[in-house]
Symmetry: C2
Subunit: 168 residues, 2 copies
């Protein structure tokens, strides 16, 4: 048991840049369209899909069957080598996000934890290690934009040998 | 002036099938993932992107600078030949959706209008004519999943010569 305590950082574009995109209006490039009736906050997240294997982007919804609260023990992380994966709450809720940079043998000491502001979504770049979705409310709906297609696209890594806890 | 009154139909997968996908949990295929902690409502919308022209899928946000109410006069429809376009409210709000089947010369008599239930999102298939986003609340945020890339991807068609009004 090593015992690592991850302190939650505020989720900002700059801090999250090594791992992917923060999907939010604040600070985003925007311009009017349709004769000025609509404001478009443009290209907040790039949907990465490997084209060689015949993958395609799909939209899904996830809900959690259990609730989670702080302090939270991180038992597993996963990565999707063939595509990005975006999570956007379908009504406001804070999200706890735990990530590690891409690589076949992620160092538990490289893990970082972020807390969203309730409105934000995130898009994990292909290959970025991340904790599976947890939610402070059961059945809260999250919109998912990720890849479907042939080939294995999920590697899981158990962190049980390490005592990794997220807290404020 | 012809004068067409479009009566709002409830938005259901079956009724909307000729135009695209309804993004909702109700009636969707779902299965547990991540050891049963998460329920995934899978592949609710196919993100269509033309691959020949170097297009890619992006995630954006739109807000409306004006509010709209019923009865509503439809002045323009548009289509995106190179990709689908999804609209999902980032917190619950009903959406008025007006669509016509693909084709270079859409018949105003073929227009149909739908009202979502507040939770639902929609994904317009590539080439499907649709009214630009209108909103009953200013600055309400809608998540958009569509295409960026080279080439013209928006055709607009004025309906001013027709008096087309959406109402209950």
């Amino acid at each position: 048991m090593t015992g690592i305590r991850l302190r939650l950082e505020p989720l900002t574009r700059a801090a999250f840049a090594p791992f992917g995109d923060v999907i939010e209006i604040d600070g985003a490039r925007h311009f009017p369209i349709n004769g000025g009736t609509i404001e478009r906050y443009h290209d907040l997240a790039n949907v990465e899909i490997d084209s060689e294997s015949g993958g395609r982007a799909i939209i899904s919804i996830m809900t959690c069957n259990e609730t989670a609260s702080l302090p939270y023990r991180v038992r597993v992380i996963e990565r999707h080598p063939r595509g990005s994966q975006a999570f956007i709450p379908m009504s406001p809720i804070r999200m706890i996000i735990v990530v590690a940079p891409p690589g076949d043998d992620p160092d538990p000491a490289s893990l970082r934890a972020f807390m969203s502001d309730g409105e934000q979504g995130v898009n994990y770049r292909a290959g970025v290690w991340h904790m599976p979705l947890i939610s402070e409310r059961q059945d809260h709906a999250y919109l998912i934009v990720d890849r479907a297609g042939p080939g294995d696209n999920c590697d899981e890594l158990s962190l049980d040998a390490h005592e990794i806890v997220v807290d404020i």
